[in-house]
Assembly symmetry: C2
Homo-oligomer: 172 residues x 2
């Protein structure tokens, strides 16, 4: 099985490590099971505290912690609401930042569907409401090609310092 082609100063793996890795940074925010599943429920439309507790099947304490963290991180926002005759409460709504994590969770779902599900294809179908066709997560280049693992290259980003000897160490 092939791998990503490491280009430029990254080609020698012995000379660098992924020290500012965006994956690792993402995991700091959403790297717990309860955070991922809380986000799943937000995508399914949950807004209210008790609903997150019930549907994620976690304790109120954990839900409160996760919701607070995800709100602080910017993935969710607290929006006041008030049922008639009730007091003001808060709903947790996805932000754009939160919504943009969807491909990662969908890709995990797709992978789990394929390799881990009890039933072939998994328990749920995800489709495009507009045309009814099944939805998948693709890795594509800007020219529209679908790219597999062996077709990927990775280089130090241009916005960083020049690819001097120091730079390959500070990579992702």
């Amino acid at each position: 099985m092939e791998s990503i082609t490491l280009q430029g100063g990254l080609s020698d793996r012995d000379t660098w490590r992924a020290t500012s890795c965006s994956i690792a940074k993402a995991l700091e925010v959403v790297g717990t099971r309860s955070a991922m599943l809380t986000m799943r429920e937000a995508y399914y439309g949950a807004h209210r505290f008790e609903e997150f507790v019930r549907r994620v099947e976690i304790t109120e304490a954990v839900a409160a912690t996760r919701l607070r963290e995800l709100t602080a991180a910017g993935l969710l926002s607290r929006v006041p609401y008030q049922d008639p005759g009730q007091r003001t409460r808060h709903e947790y709504h996805l932000t754009q930042m939160g919504a943009d994590l969807l491909p990662a969770l969908l890709a995990l779902m797709q992978w789990g569907d394929r390799y881990l599900a009890e039933q072939p294809g998994g328990p749920l179908n995800v489709t495009h409401v507009g045309c009814g066709e099944p939805v998948t997560v693709d890795v594509r280049c800007a020219a529209g090609h679908e790219v597999d693992l062996g077709g990927l290259g990775v280089q130090v980003s241009r916005t960083r310092k020049t690819p001097a000897s120091a730079s390959p160490r500070a990579a992702r």
Copy 2:
């Protein structure tokens, strides 16, 4: 911010929970930081034990545990190798199952690049080797439409039991 449209028996969130969720199942396999980062290194081309230890920056004990688990789960396979004058050792190679998790990790990376990275766009560029264009993770339907959160629908999979009252509870 919108959410996925829950269709059919799934429309009432109060009547079901994601009990066989493929995301949750995936997290059982790769839901630790060390597993995710081990997979990252496999995508970057690492094969050998010491390389995983060094580049993931985890202890040998954790590397051994994670590599054993990922091998048992089918994401990696152990392949014997022997440097001249040395004893037989094993490399850990990606399987198709392992390679197919790439979109999830790339999507996490993409999201981290956008929202968490110290530098705009993140420290590394991922491109299509064949044409040089930047690579992204897209959510698309089979008709080729790019679909955002609000454009998604989800239904109980056809391969499951009829969408009776019992069925919506056993979903993902």
